[in-house]
Amino acid sequence: MTKYLIKRILHGLISVVIVVAIVMTIIYSIMDRNLIFAQDSTYSHQKNNAKEIYKYTKWEEYGYLDYVTYADYLLDLTNSGVITEETRSSVVGIGRTEDKDSEAVQEYINKFKEFYESQGYEVIRLDAVMLNAKKVADGGQPRLFAFKQRPLVTRLWSYFSGLITIDNIHNVEGIEGDPGITFTWFDSVYGGDKFSPAILGNGTTHRYLLYFDSKFPYLHQNIITINLGTSYSVNEGSDVFETMNRAQGSYVKSTITYPSGLTEESADDLHTATFVKDSLETSLVYESRFVDDYTNVETVKANLSKIGFSFVIGIIASLLAYFVGVPLGIMMSRKKDKLIDKLGTLYIIFIIAVPALAYIFLFKALGGKAGLPTTFNLESANKLMYILPIVSLALPQIANLMKWLRRYMIDQMNSDYVKFARSGGLSEGEIFSKHILKNAAIPIIHGIPGTILFAMTGAIITERVYVVPGAGNLLTEAIGKYDNGVIVGVTLFYAILSITAIILGDVLISIADPRISFSNKDR
């Protein structure tokens, strides 16, 4: 069994890599890469050569290509001691056009070209854009740079190798004191006298590596960070995983003690402090609160994260669906061709045939008539607003469960073992609950892990119609805003969920039904 599972997991991971590779090929190679600037206001304000340069820096940042400017090249040479600082500053300025370069500059430009062209880079020189004979236009300075498209394999490798980062005491430079890890029984955030163990790091990216707080699951860690890819336009600069998991809504203030000893009502979450080099001196606010450069903190917010909302709504809807759908499905099969079966079939046809959009709007209109809130409001404490999204999600699930359970049970009803049980004198109730249901439920059980896991991804239409701040719209939003990082990240997330769901489903049915075995020995 273990061997089989490992094989399955490896198989699944390979297909996840292939899925990500396919998606990357689609969005990085086939899609027009100028589209990513559609929502970028910085881009639209740039002019002339500066605009081109901005494009290339962004493309490099988002993994399209490797890009080196002439100035960077010279800086590298200086740093490695090949040329002196004087030489660098004398040759760094290039002429407005190629024939206006001085001889020394020409020499280094040729070196630059040779060096990068030999590595497969393409060298581009942008001549100055002139406003008149003497004045250079805004952003029109001459530019010289080299770039190379990143091949898919490199991109895949850097994506997957950066997927999980483990914090390390040599991660950052320029810390105060020696790098190391300290342990405290009394977390200073709570004033220093409350019992709350924590592990702190110096030299790590995060200040707190392991700590307790009042939020579920109470014990938190910052040692392992998951990076699914950086968002460009959906949530600029943040990681996809963070975008999905970060709390939303209004700030929650509590009394906290800053490292400097200042106690204040604040929404800052000191446990999330990360290192930003030389940040302490940049503002008086930091200087009065912090003692070192671990100043970058997140804030505590009142509501759930995107995944949180989707999961709460999804899981309640699924529970509701199982509690309603399973008994109804059993009833339909027991009273086959009777009124309840016909009504149930009508309902199933309605859900299958009518576009999802149409019936969700119908429920919204009906719910609105009944006085339920039809839109989600983060600031409202009214729990009633959960009802309509939950019901809208549960109704199709109920139909689906009813349809399949009825089908499986009716198929089982004609089998020999049922006829035998009946001839043995068992009552219909016993036959149904002890024989038929047990066999018919196996495919239903197989779907349970999937139902739970996919509650996290959220539902696109439901969340849009009821304005739920969930994760369901992340993919469509990312596609609409051409945010490649988010598209790849979300795809990876979906793919991992889907293979996990299938494997867990298989494990679950082999537990539920001893006849099912995945190891060769038992066969």
Partner: protein, 322 residues
């Protein structure tokens, strides 16, 4: 005698009757004439409700394909007429006089909602039918090969496992983005991986039937695989294929509505786009008609297509032909 028959509720022809000895008749060895498609339609029309639903489908198709040919429709014809916008049926009939165009009121540009719906459903239904034909053809052919060949099975299972994980919306959206949001693109986007699910389903059915005794017997007697596929297995599959078609074709209409709603749909005026554009009217009191009419009509179209397909699927199962 007849009284006693009535008492037991038996008809008169239940009784024995004398048959004369005929040399000619006794020499004739013949099964009742059986024609597959004849029986399919006999079973299909035995249910009276099917006739009603089929005629409803006929009316819908007539409105979808013939009505736009007869009527001239210009969305922006009443654009300058401020009094013509967002009217309920009664108001618009009062405004323009009684005419079939104004049965469902008018929309944001003063256009007739009724006309817009049928022009839209022509695009939506055509899309669904074309995608259905393409996906079913490829799906059934690939599924049959997939089910028969063990080598193909290994490869196709991997392909299926991978493509089942690529989010469908992503694929469609990226294709719409790369190409244009035209009708052709939409067909391409919906069919590029759409056939995989059908092929997988057909593969399972083929695997189930493939190793039954009568097929083994056929194989032992030297029947070629192609002949087994066409003569032994295809008749079994007909009802399954029709049932798949019954669920698939309405699902493309739903899919189109969904894609239009999330802003990734067709640039043409399809049903989905109508709903998408009229969404804001849903919450405005008195404008509800321009939103609900396309929603209701598209639901009717999908339900009718589904029910006709399902019942046709039932009728095409030879086991119901007794």
């Amino acid at each position: 005698m007849t009284k006693e028959l009535e008492k037991y509720g038996l008809p008169e022809d239940e009784l024995f009757a004398r048959v004369d000895n005929s040399v000619f008749d006794s020499e004739k060895i013949m099964a009742p004439r059986y024609s597959y498609w004849h029986s399919v339609f006999r079973v299909f029309f035995r249910k009276r409700s099917n006739i009603v639903i089929l005629s409803l489908l006929g009316v819908l198709l007539a409105f979808t394909y013939i009505y736009p040919l007869v009527v001239e429709y210009d969305k922006y014809a009443n654009l300058m007429d401020t009094a013509a916008k967002h009217l309920s049926p009664l108001e618009s009939i009062r405004q323009f006089g009684f005419n079939i165009h104004w049965l469902l009121g008018s929309g944001a540009a003063g256009q007739s909602t009724f006309d817009a719906i049928w022009f839209g459903s022509r695009i939506s239904i055509s899309l669904a039918l074309i995608c259905g034909v393409i996906n079913l053809t490829i799906g059934v052919l690939v599924g049959a090969v997939w089910g028969f060949s063990k080598k193909v099975d290994i490869i196709m299972m991997e392909v299926y496992n991978i493509f089942a994980n690529v989010p469908y919306i992503l694929l469609v959206a990226v294709l719409v983005m790369i190409l244009t949001s035209s009708f052709g693109t939409m067909v391409f986007a919906l069919t590029i991986t759409g056939w995989l699910g059908i092929a997988y389903f057909i593969r399972m059915q083929v695997v189930i039937i493939r190793d039954r005794e009568y097929n083994l017997a056929s194989k032992c007697l030297g029947t070629s695989i192609v002949k087994i596929a066409l003569r032994n297995i295809l008749p079994f599959m007909t009802s399954i294929i029709v049932t798949i078609a019954a669920t698939e074709i309405p699902s493309y209409i739903s899919m189109e509505v969904f894609l239009a709603y999330i802003g990734m749909g067709l640039s043409d005026m399809s049903l989905g786009r109508l709903i998408y554009e009229a969404e804001s009217a849903m919450v405005t009191p008195g404008w509800g008609f321009e939103f609900w009419s396309p929603v209701v009509i598209s639901s009717i179209i999908t339900i009718v297509l589904y029910v006709v397909g399902q019942n046709l699927g039932d009728a095409s199962d030879p086991r119901t032909h007794m």
